[in-house]
């Protein structure tokens, strides 16, 4: 059995801003809720995209037929080069 089969599948939800709802961003494998939360932070919030994360065991979700979406968190202030605006390009090509 591979490691991903031994681990549980979790769904990850991120609240981008207070007052907004948590949004589904994806899923991951983890051993337990604590670990899923840490992995979700590392994996889905590398650009301060959220203020709160939920993780839910996928098997525990009883789904009606509806949507989800995306967003994030984690201060990566010392890595401005992850942002497009960090790169100063000549005007004629600055729309890339």
């Amino acid at each position: 059995m591979s490691v991903t089969e031994k681990l549980e599948l979790f769904e990850v939800f991120v609240r981008s801003k207070r007052g907004l709802d948590h949004k589904h961003v994806g899923s991951l494998h983890a051993e337990d809720h604590e670990q899923a939360l840490e992995y979700a932070r590392d994996c889905y919030t590398r650009r301060s995209e959220g203020v709160s994360i939920w993780v839910v065991k996928s098997a525990d979700i009883c789904a009606s037929q509806e949507d989800d979406a995306d967003c994030f968190y984690d201060p990566s202030d010392d890595k401005p080069y992850r942002h497009a605006t960090y790169y100063v390009l000549p005007d004629p090509v600055n729309n890339m």
Binding site: T4, V25, D67, Y81, R82, Y87, P90, P92, V93, M96
Partner: protein, 312 residues
């Protein structure tokens, strides 16, 4: 309304299809093929760039490259996860990649010879990927569409850092400028091939368009990329590799040379410079990483035992 009619109604109304919705089997299969191929491309694409992390010309370029490679790993994960919502497992997908059953983007089978190639990859290869991925943000499958939206947001720095590195070379010494020109000459054509065969030759295109898995045709996307790249080459002050390139007033697009399709099919079928090396490396890395996955499992088992003990 039959499930099939309801499915088509959603597609026509621009509603997303979600994992638990009914969908035709071929829709599911088509998606698994396309999404897993996309995931494999993100992962295999880390190899050429990863090779240059130790050779980046400055600490700044090194930090940028590490960030980019880290993002690509994340993109692989987003896409594998999206494919998993369709009922295929991660290990099945990796197996398909390693046995050559599943493809990845042919661009990564071209050799990377100099630092300028790394710049050209960021600018042209990520640039071409972005054109495709921007279009796929509107794909009909919810998890794929959301993955694309996230990826596009992260991609914009990839292209800009590549162009910036290219600009530094193009405005540098004559030797640097020559390196930049050489990288452009070699990567321009394979970048155009990233959009796939002509629509008339593309096996999966028509059904994929009907189901809105794909939103624009290979040729339309390629044209978009050709057009947007012209002023970018001008600003670099480099020569355009396509000597037949010509503005067509009537079409409002550039006319250009046809591509070397024999080369395209040959590389897809495993005969590019790096096909074997890329797969061997993936298999070796996967095997050598076995102990890490074992350690994760062992650690988790210990933790579970400890928890059980504490509870007792």
């Amino acid at each position: 309304m039959t499930p099939e009619e309801n499915f088509m109604r959603k597609i026509e109304a621009e509603e997303k299809i979600e994992p638990k919705d009914w969908m035709p089997d071929t829709y599911r299969k088509n998606l698994i093929r396309q999404i897993s191929q996309h995931a494999h491309s993100e992962v295999i694409g880390m190899q050429p760039e990863g090779n240059y992390i130790t050779r980046a010309p400055s600490l700044r370029r090194k930090a940028v490259l590490i960030s980019k490679v880290q993002d690509e790993a994340g993109h692989g994960l987003y896409l594998y996860s999206a494919a998993e919502t369709l009922g295929i497992s991660r290990s099945e997908m990796i197996e398909a990649l390693q046995t050559g059953k599943a493809k990845y983007s042919s661009i990564f089978n071209y050799p990377v010879l100099t630092w300028a190639d790394i710049a050209a990859i960021g600018w042209l290869v990520d640039g071409a990927a972005i054109v495709n991925q921007v279009s796929l943000q509107r794909t009909s499958y919810g998890p794929y569409s959301r993955g694309m939206i996230r990826i596009c947001k992260e991609e914009s720095f990839h292209q800009r850092q590549g162009y910036e590195a290219m600009l530094a070379l193009a405005k540098g010494s004559p030797e640097q400028k020559a390196m930049a020109q050489d990288a452009l000459n070699r990567f321009y054509w394979p970048a155009l091939m990233m959009f796939g065969p002509h629509d008339s030759e593309s096996a999966h295109s028509q059904k994929s368009m009907e189901w809105k898995i794909k939103r624009e045709t290979n040729d339309d996307l390629r044209q978009k990329f050709i057009d947007q790249t012209v002023p970018q080459i001008e600003v670099l002050g480099l020569e355009h590799p396509d000597k037949a390139l010509k503005w067509n007033e009537e079409r409002g697009h550039y006319d250009s040379s046809d591509l070397n399709w024999d080369e395209f099919w040959s590389v897809i079928n495993g005969n590019g410079h790096c096909n074997r090396q890329r797969l061997e490396h993936h298999i070796a890395a996967h095997d050598e990483g076995e102990w890490v996955r074992d350690a994760i499992t062992a650690y988790n088992e210990k933790k579970r035992a400890k928890k059980a003990q504490n509870a007792a």
